[in-house]
């Protein structure tokens, strides 16, 4: 049975997929995950999840974010007066980064 493994590096962080283990049950999966995925990289916690319990939807089935121009959804689409609150600037920066990574900024 295959168990997908998700690692959280530090308390409070997100669990991110880091690999999988072959194990007969949940307890063994936890032990194998600790050995295979928790030894070198910084690890605070691991989740093990049976592979067949994971649902997936891919870019070949759905257009993530839709197919129409949704520029109006981005903070970067609005030019307002200078002197935005720091948390607004931070949000806009995060959105600008996401736009670049999606390739939407062209």
């Amino acid at each position: 049975m295959i168990w997908e493994v998700f690692r959280q590096e530090k308390a409070g962080g997100y669990h991110a997929h880091c690999g999988n283990v072959h194990a007969p049950d949940r307890e063994m999966a936890r032990q194998f995950a600790a050995i295979q995925h928790g030894r070198r990289k910084p690890t605070n916690s691991l989740w093990v999840v049976p592979r067949e319990e994971i649902g997936e939807i891919g870019a070949d089935e759905v257009a993530f974010g839709g197919t129409t121009d949704k520029i109006y959804r981005w903070a970067t689409a609005y030019n307002t007066t200078a002197g935005d609150a720091s948390e607004v600037v931070e949000s806009e920066d995060e959105q600008a980064t996401a736009e670049r990574r999606r390739g939407d900024d062209r």
Binding site: R73, T81, G83, A85, E87, V88, E90
Partner: protein
Amino acid sequence: MWRSSAKGESVPIYNDMDLDAIEERAGPRAFSPADELPREYREAATRMIEFHANSEIMGAYLERPFIRQAPSIDRKLAFSAKTQDEIGHAQLLYRAAETLGVKSREEMLDDLANGDGKFLNCFHYPLESWVEVPMISFFVDGAAMRRQATLRRTSWEPYAHAMDKVCFEEGFHVKHGEDILTELMTGSRKERRLTQAAFEEWWPRIIQFFGPTDDDSTHHDFAAAVGLKQQSNDELRDAFLDQYIPKARKHGLEIPDEPRIRERDDGTYAVEEDDLDWDEFFTIAKNEYEPGVGQIDERKRAREAVGWVRDALEDDAVAADGTAPQAAD
């Protein structure tokens, strides 16, 4: 460990852990569902997150009519995207709250419908014309963002994670709100006059967004001691004034004489708290303010009207795999 809620759903229960130990460990994102947390912590966190989630819903319902009343197609698209975001934020927050094992999502939604659920003061007032829209989508959302940015460091990890996504999205709301304000304040003389009047009406309520002063805040001390709250009501309100008074002026809005605003020597601002209507505020806090009661009932009717959609989804899920979905799934 699990218990059955009033609705017969499974909700997790945790053994009590020493309160002193909690205070000692209470850093940003310190506690996750894997921790055994004392009842007091879980109840305080539930109250805070449930209030936040309810506010997202009630705010979205307040703004919803303006999807239809938006003056242009661009505004309509942006405004419907924003309202959709807010409903999504409520979903994230109810998830973060129900993991505490105090109340299920169903219980929280029922309480909001029957008038027991509490939510933000600003969303108890009617929103009647387009010139009022930036009062919510710029000033109230700006105030919310100020508070939410500090909550990315709250001690309940699922709440902090929800705030990561909320803050990511919210920048668009505030900037779009400011864009509407810009349009109105550079529009006709009538538009400017009506916008100024709306601002005067909303300004005291917006300041009260941050709740009573620290000495009158019932829940602050505990919430701060266990790291749920990262800044006091007074700190947040002052930080908001410092940022948004200059913004309002930049748009040509005049700050009303009441409540009196003091400018400190260092250029920061403080409000004269006694000039604000705290009787009205606490009437609202009890869900007894008339327009707010109507808004709660209106949302209840809307929820009932789409009950068939929820039923269809549930029936479909049961038919698909033969098991009923669990609340905690």
